[in-house]
Each structure stands twice: as structure tokens, then as C-alpha cells.
């Protein structure tokens, strides 16, 4: 005896999601039994819609149901500024700030030869083309401060050498509220290296 087939199927599908093991999948699957009818319908439909309707914006790689994403279609945005991110979900974080008004570009990963991710696996050529064609004034590389992040930033820098575009990267340093006693040595080293002058004398 095991669970009836629909529950077994649902457990098997849930187990394909990141961080979901046997016990969690079981608990999540059984929770569907307690859901309201309309939630179940929305749940079932949204899975199909996410898989079938969501595509990547043809310009920046953001998630969208149209050819161009909401941000690329927004004419009030500064179209000369591009923020380069690793994944579409990073865009949501930047948009939550509410202060950035430029466009984005999703790399779709970071250079990591050990994991078999080489520059040609990312959309870098497409980005370079876009910078040339659209006469972009500044790109902000906003990837995580890791070996892969630094490698990717360096590679972009080389690729864009000689082009009339300012390249910047987001600041590395101590997060707000951090205690110097508990910060890791590498973060402290970076904070020191990227120190900012507060007087000119």
C-alpha cells in the first residue's frame, strides 16, 4: 500500500523542485487536499501558464509574456543605462528599491569554467552588440561578489575595451547593520580596497 496515484504523481513532480525532498514533497502534496477549489484551479493553470506562456524578453532576457518585457517597453526609463545581472529574479530585487530607472540585461549565468560555463554560453555578444547599436552610455555590472562574478566582470571589461561606454560595478563592502567583529576577512579586505575618500585634503 502506498498513496493513491494522483498523490504519488504530485509527490514525484514536487520532488523535482529545488530543495524539496521526499518528506517535504509528501507534506506539500497532502496540503493540496485542504485547499479551496479556486486556489486549486489557479494553481493547476498557473503551472501550465508559467511553462507555456513565459518567455525571455528578446532585448534583455527578463521574464515576460510578450516579446518585450514591461521594463524595455517603458518609455519613461533611461535607455542609455543598462544594469547587467545574472538571473531574471535579480531584476525584481533592483525594482523593489524603486530608485533605479535604467534598463537591464540578463546574462543567464556567470563564467565558471569548472562548472563548464564559458563566455560563449552567456549572452555577452548580444550585450556588446546592443551597447554599440543603442549607444549605451553606462553599464553597471551587478553580479555577486564571487570568483565567478569577478571573472565575468573582468571578461566584460575586456570585451568592451575601446568602446565609448562607462563600465561600473556595484560596491562591495559591509552590509548595513553588520558588526566588524563578525564580518568575513574577504569582505573586510574588499571594503578596505574600495574605500571612499571623505575629505580631499
Amino acid at each position: 500500500m502506498n498513496y493513491p496515484q494522483p498523490i504519488k504523481d504530485l509527490i514525484a513532480c514536487l520532488k523535482k523542485m529545488p530543495g524539496v525532498g521526499e518528506k517535504t514533497a509528501e507534506r506539500l502534496a497532502l496540503s493540496v487536499l485542504e485547499m479551496d477549489k479556486d486556489v486549486v484551479t489557479t494553481f493547476s493553470n498557473s503551472i501550465l501558464d508559467v511553462a507555456n506562456k513565459i518567455t525571455k524578453c528578446s532585448k534583455c532576457g527578463n521574464l515576460t509574456i510578450d516579446d518585450l518585457c514591461e521594463i524595455c517597453r517603458d518609455n519613461s526609463r533611461n535607455k542609455k543605462l543598462i544594469c547587467v545581472v545574472e538571473e531574471p529574479k535579480n531584476i525584481i530585487m533592483f525594482e523593489k528599491m524603486g530608485t533605479y530607472n535604467g534598463l537591464y540585461f540578463v546574462l543567464g549565468g556567470l563564467i565558471s569554467p569548472l562548472d563548464g560555463i564559458n563566455p560563449e554560453d552567456l549572452n555577452i555578444d548580444f550585450l556588446v552588440d546592443r551597447i554599440k547599436k543603442e549607444k549605451i552610455e553606462e553599464i553597471i555590472v551587478a553580479v555577486k561578489p564571487s570568483i565567478e562574478g569577478e571573472t565575468t566582470t573582468l571578461y566584460l571589461q575586456k570585451k568592451l575595451e575601446g568602446l565609448p561606454v562607462v563600465i561600473s560595478k556595484i560596491a562591495r563592502g559591509l552590509p548595513i547593520g553588520a558588526d566588524i567583529d563578525y564580518v568575513d576577512p574577504l569582505t573586510l579586505e574588499m571594503a578596505l580596497e574600495d574605500r571612499i575618500k571623505i575629505t580631499n585634503s
Copy 2:
């Protein structure tokens, strides 16, 4: 800017599941984008099927797609022995052992006046009827060793007083591999209380 509607809908549904917060729901929803077409179809269908086709066995309360569950329909089972459990998923654990050959009965909860769960909210009357009608020889109360579990066991004992049925409960004590130094005092007290004679002299 936020996620496109299908992703927003999926995140909202996933957040209704136990232990799934905003960030987890986001990660799980985005993982659907990486799933194979056939997994997506099974996933979507199984949610509808779990919600619409799964019912409770009319005899024991186990999950089933038929009127009677697989276990109640199995004629090789000992029909005079009932194991009383809290939830359908407990049955799966007992079945995994592979040694229990009786039937089950799902209470659907444990008595807990503080949480507003009173005896009449559980299927206890139905169980008592079944014990009388089917001339059950033994019931094994297999609920967790907590205040609610003990209260429920005591209540069942009172309800069945005078009936020709043996009532037993599963043993409480040290789990296999436990270290006496690290066990909680209540478990140790129960293990001492329920000690088993190994000689008769």
C-alpha cells in the same frame, strides 16, 4: 515591475502550502521554467486530480480514489485487528514496515480542548460502532506520545469500556540508537514506567 501574472499567481498558490514563504515560493515557481513539458503536464493534472478525485475511505478514513481504500479491500488482511492513527499519512509509515497485517482507522486529529478539538470532532463514534458490528478483537492505539495523544487514548479506553475488545497502545521508550545522556527526562520516565520484565523470578 514585478513578475508576469502567471508567475505571480503560482507564487501566491505555493505560499499557501505549509512552510513555504515568499522566497521559497519564488524559487519553486521559477523552477517550473526549467521543467520538461511532460513533467509540467503531470504536475498540473495531478494537482487537479488530488483535489477532485481523492476522497476518504468510507470505512477507515484512509485516502483513496474509490469508496473503499486498498487496505480495506484486501481480503488477505486480518479484519479483526484495527490500528488507530491520527492522520492518513501515518498509515504509509506503518505500511513501510511491512509487518502489520491488520486494518486501520484514521481519527482525523487528536483531542485537544485548547485548540478547540473535542471528542465529537473526531470519528470516534464511528469507530465504536465498527468495533461492535465487526466484532473487532483488538485495537492498537498508535498516536504520538503527547498530552493530546494520551488524552485521546484515555477517552477511547473509556468509550470502549465493557466491550469484548483488547485495547493496546504502541510502546513508548528510547528510540533505537538513542543515547541515555541525550534523551529528554519525560521519555526516560516513560521508558522506566513501561519497563518490560526479562526474567520471571
